[in-house]
């Protein structure tokens, strides 16, 4: 038996791991505008992409232009991404909505910082959770992922690209400053050890192709612009051919399809990690760097004889409802620690519907949530 190839180990920053993950996933276009604490992603891309076959790095004039360029690149068939932080994320919302409507795959990394407004530059926060879900106008589905350590930054970036391509949708990777500025040892996967998914391209002749056709998965194939499939792309509500429409039945068909293509694949999309949740009385629900504090707190609680568990959210939206409901059958208390005034605890309370007691821990002072803070609440039961 051939011995499995040893993985390359690197000592990397969270932001650096995002770049590694993106490149492994096949990203060849980065358009961005500098803003801390996300800037390293852009800087490393600026150094790496020009050395790669067809790799394009663009420093755009602002965040709005970055999103425009990324969508344009994606329309030509490339895997494209951008990275930003708080205020930049707000500016990107306009074209993020366009990407949802025109069903353009892309990855947007938002390394959150304190807000509102310019807020707390380069201090950890998790204040953009609901903005990620509802930032752009209109009713729309969105996939939001997170990562709690450097290895996950790499893995979840690959996952983000795969989901973007699979579901023809923008995917947001929501990181916090602690994760993106932590430096730790990670392993780069060998080729073949991870899945790389690329969008389905049409196989029918161009004259048969309808860019927004109803399909079994709800995801129409997408050819690169300039490949012989000439079609119209618009942010206006459109019919199956991609042309603007206001006919009620066509409007409803489009809206239902873009929701359904995300909703029906919750087994694939809603990722969580469960730690000691099988018999837990108290379950902590956390994400990002707070999940690391939470894990330590849960282990300490266990050694103190309290049956604690952790539901670590790796997908924030669509909210992993099914996994939470399972825990509600046994846990008496849910603890939701966050670096905001309670944005994810809203989702937890919505799913909980009074089954368990929900205790929140909220920090908005630009400091991390410590294990002892969480432990204290767990021990209260």
């Amino acid at each position: 038996m051939p011995r499995p190839k040893k993985r390359t180990e690197i000592f990397a920053l969270g932001n650096e791991a995002v770049v590694e993950g993106a490149l492994l996933a096949g990203c060849t276009f980065f358009g961005g505008y500098p803003i801390t604490p996300s800037s390293e992603i852009m800087e490393i891309m600026a150094a790496r992409l020009p050395h790669m076959e067809n790799g394009v790095f663009m420093q755009m004039e602002d965040e709005i232009a970055s999103m425009g360029a990324v969508i344009g690149a994606s329309l030509t068939g490339r895997k494209a991404m951008t990275a930003t932080s708080g205020p930049g994320f707000s500016l990107m919302q306009e074209n993020l909505g366009y990407a949802v409507m025109a069903e353009t795959p892309m990855v947007l990394v938002n390394v959150m910082r304190g807000g509102p407004s310019t807020g707390l530059p380069t201090s950890p926060a998790q204040g953009d959770v609901q903005q990620a879900r509802w930032g752009t106008h209109g009713d729309h589905p969105i996939i939001v992922l997170s990562a709690s350590n450097v290895q996950e930054c790499l893995d979840m970036t690959i996952t983000a690209f795969n989901m973007a391509e699979k579901y023809r949708t923008p995917v947001i990777l929501l990181l916090d400053e602690v994760t993106s500025h932590t430096r730790e040892k990670i392993e780069l996967p060998n080729e073949g050890e991870y899945e790389v998914f690329s969008r389905t391209v049409p196989s029918m002749p161009p004259e048969w192709y309808k860019p927004y056709e109803e399909t079994v998965r709800g995801v129409p194939p997408m050819p690169p612009i300039g490949s012989g499939y000439r079609f119209h792309v618009t942010g206006l509500t459109h019919d199956r051919n991609g042309f603007p429409t206001q006919r009620p039945e066509e409007v409803v068909e489009l809206m239902e399809r873009i929701h359904r293509k995300i909703d029906q694949f919750f087994y694939d999309i809603q990722l969580v990690e469960e730690i000691m949740t099988d018999d837990c009385d108290v379950c902590v629900i956390a994400y990002g760097s707070v999940a690391r504090s939470a894990e330590l707190a849960v282990r300490q609680a266990r050694s103190n004889g309290v049956k604690a568990g952790l539901l670590k959210l790796m997908t924030l939206f669509p909210y992993p409802r099914r996994q939470t409901e399972k825990i509600l059958a046994r846990a008496k208390t849910l603890v939701v620690p966050e670096m905001n005034m309670g944005q994810m605890s809203r989702e937890v309370k919505r799913v909980n519907m009074g089954h368990a007691a929900v205790r929140t821990i909220n920090r908005v002072d630009g400091q991390i949530v410590t294990p002892s803070e969480i432990l204290k609440v767990i021990m209260q039961g």
């Binding site: 050395h51 360029a69 366009y98 690169p224 012989g228 119209h232 942010g235 206006l236 603007p244």
Partner: protein
């Protein structure tokens, strides 16, 4: 020369089975600009599949629906940023950004400046009708001083933006202005713009009698075309005029023709050098 007419050429490039009749008012100049663009593309022999028309929002933004190219109808003011991503990702494509004056000069002003500065290989067509037409006739940065609009019932106080001077200053490779009254000249300019490397900008003055003319002493489309005829003057002749005669005259023609290579050309040339170095170093 074949003996097919201009109309027959245009019909080959329209999406007949799609969304006709179009949304434009009778007497609008936008259709003339689109016709000119189609004839230019046809004359240059550019295949339909190699053309990407990226449009903004407004009356000009809707033009993309009618032509059988790859068409992208973007967000308000952002056409050039989408166009930049497309051109950089596939430099073989002819990328044309169709924008209105409000679209390109106001909300999209930053993108226009930087597309010109970067000298990205995109042809920008600004359809300047001096007004926000589709939203109902509000002032745009190109609305002349003193003109009356829905948002300037007492007369425009803001200075009017000179697109040509802006693009020149920002470093565009090719800058020209034409009007829909001087169609042949406009067509010649467009062909040149499509052929030039780097960022080329064509400002096409096109009348909006519905929203602009009606409130500003041009009661009918004919009045507006007469205005174009009497106002526009070739830039060569304009430059010879004494200062007092220049008032109320608008120079048309080619203002800048620098011939610098486009950004994408420089980028990919450098990348090739990097790849060649790596291939050598790897052995």
């Amino acid at each position: 020369m074949s003996n097919i007419t201009g109309n027959e050429i245009i019909h080959q490039y329209l999406r007949h089975n799609k969304k006709f009749p179009h949304v434009l008012c009778a007497g609008c100049g936008h259709g003339i600009v689109l016709g000119t663009l189609i004839r230019s593309i046809h004359a240059l022999g550019i295949p339909k599949d190699d053309v990407v028309v990226v449009a903004g929002i407004g009356c000009s933004g809707r033009l993309a629906v009618y032509v059988d190219f790859n068409t992208v109808h973007t967000t308000h003011g952002r056409a050039l940023s989408f166009a930049t991503g497309i051109k950089m990702s596939n430099p073989k494509l002819h990328v044309i950004a169709l924008m209105g004056d409000g679209d390109a000069l106001s909300i999209g002003g930053n993108h226009l400046i930087h597309a010109a500065r970067r000298n990205i290989g995109v042809t920008a067509m600004i359809l300047n009708n001096n007004i926000y037409g589709m939203t109902g006739g509000q002032s745009s940065p190109a609305t002349p001083e003193g003109a009356t609009t829905m948002t300037n019932p007492y007369g425009q106080l803001d200075h009017s933006f000179d697109t040509v001077e802006l693009a020149k200053g920002a470093g565009a490779n090719y800058v020209a202005r034409g009007t829909v009254f001087h169609v042949n000249r406009l067509e010649k300019i467009m062909m040149e713009a499509l052929e030039r490397p780097g960022f080329s900008l064509v400002e096409a003055i096109t009348p909006c009698h519905t929203q602009f003319g009606r409130k500003n002493k041009y009661k009918s489309p004919v009045d507006m075309y007469k205005w174009l005829k009497s106002t526009a003057i070739p830039v060569e002749r304009f430059n010879e005029l004494p200062a007092d005669k220049r008032v109320d005259r608008m120079p048309i023609g080619v203002f800048v023709d620098r011939g610098k290579p486009g950004y994408e050309e420089l980028y990919y040339a450098r990348q090739e050098r990097f790849l060649a170095q790596a291939a050598k170093g790897g052995k």
